[in-house]
Symmetry: C2
Subunit: 234 residues, 2 copies
DNA sequence: TCACACAACTTGTATATACAATTAAGCTTC
DNA sequence: GAAGCTTAATTGTATATACAAGTTGTGTGA
């Protein structure tokens, strides 16, 4: 393996394991070059590539720091609904409907890569923008990785925020589709009539395996997913 | 401006203008270092960053080449519906419903950044996977940038393929939402009853301005948008 | 005590060099 | 003509060095 790649791995482990949380300082170019007995340019390359990948943030004169979660994500990736609402200058609040341990159904067990009928944590939360519900979040969590999930107060911290602080995510997959909501979702979204909804199905991994499986349902009349791409970066 | 950045701009113009089409060889590190009177490492940096951004592909021993369009796109970005269908091993075909010049409505004119009531090209096409329609594509095109749009045969080449060969795109914005289809879209999608649909609204730019505005509508029962993210890249 | 200067450290840019690994083209030989 | 060898070109990795530019903390002087 190339030297710069070995240094990247070393730093990656520090970050992915949570040993270095958000904003934690990362070893400087000079420190790494001594520690690994390489030239500064080689250590620099490792740091630079991690910065390109969005894992760290570098700032001239100051140093290199572990990037906050939100900046790790590029186009249309994992965003925190609370941040989104607040960025639009609106008030955010959440209502927790369910928060308990259950036996995993075959479906959920498969998504979490667990045996059927093992216990999993299940939460249902509605997220509000001002006074309108904008997202119903049904979430199943692997209790082996996040044992204290059910004792959190999700009106103060969103599950996404809590989970990424406990088990930093390394991978995620999404599926987006248009569906007609089932009745209990309609109720949570306060929809009088059935209305097309955007549903995002998301699985996220940490180093230790599948952390969580989430179904995020948005009413079509109150939500648009947006993104912008530029191919010119000079 | 930094030297490596000037070289990047020079190369970027060659690619974005279409002067260097897909797979066209890009000047080598040594050639650039002579041409710009910089060291090879500086020329290398320009090429390397363009490669990281997906604009060029580098191959040891061979050289650097302009990347094919499809590899310019990252997560969930602009994909060609025909390629998607074929990748799934299914048959693709298209039916052209409309292909004409129209007066731009206020809405369309705004999206294309043109004055109202100027002529624009308008096409409506249904894309099929095997024998089922999977996408209705309503598209408006800036005739100043793509004057020959209406004389193309879009059963053979998709609009997306044609447009990106004529005016290489430099920017794109998306909006995704869930809607109930209007009647003529239902007809094109061969839907008996109204069904939630995924609608992607897309605008793309080239160097000379907004090229096209497209509304892509997918029936919820036959289409899922998927994506996968990894934060570990070693 | 406050303000300013300075030193130390950090990242950013750039150069010159060396060698490794791979590719591609040309040439020789059979 | 085909197979194999040689050679040149190209990208990949790595080092040592130099200076620029921004940040931060320390200490001096008023």
């Amino acid at each position: 393996m190339a030297k710069f790649s070995a240094i990247k791995q070393h730093l990656y482990r520090k970050i992915a394991s949570g040993e270095w949380p958000e904003h934690h300082p990362v070893s400087s170019e000079n420190a790494l070059s001594q520690q690994f007995s390489v030239s500064r340019m080689t250590a620099r390359r490792a740091l630079q590539e991690l910065a390109d990948e969005g894992l760290v943030i570098r700032s001239k004169g100051s140093g290199t720091y572990v990037a906050p979660i939100k900046s790790q994500t590029s186009f249309m990736a994992i965003r925190n609904i609370a941040d989104e609402v607040r960025e639009r200058g609106h008030k955010y609040h959440a209502v927790v409907h369910t928060m308990r341990q259950e036996q995993a159904t075959a479906n959920v067990a498969e998504f979490l890569q667990l045996p059927a009928n093992t216990p999993v944590y299940h939460s249902v939360i509605t997220h509000y923008e001002n006074h309108d519900p904008v997202q119903v979040e049904e979430r199943w969590v692997n209790p082996k990785i996040v044992p204290k999930y059910t004792s959190q107060d999700f009106t103060k911290v969103t599950p996404h925020e809590y989970l990424s602080s406990v088990a930093p995510l390394t991978e995620a997959s999404h599926q987006i589709e248009a569906i007609a909501p089932v009745e209990h979702v309609m109720h949570w979204l306060k929809l009088e009539k059935p209305e097309p909804c955007l549903r995002i199905q998301r699985r996220t991994w940490s180093e230790s395996g599948v952390v969580t499986y989430a179904l995020l349902t948005h009413p079509g009349s109150r939500f648009v997913l947006g993104g912008h791409l530029t191919f010119k970066k000079n």
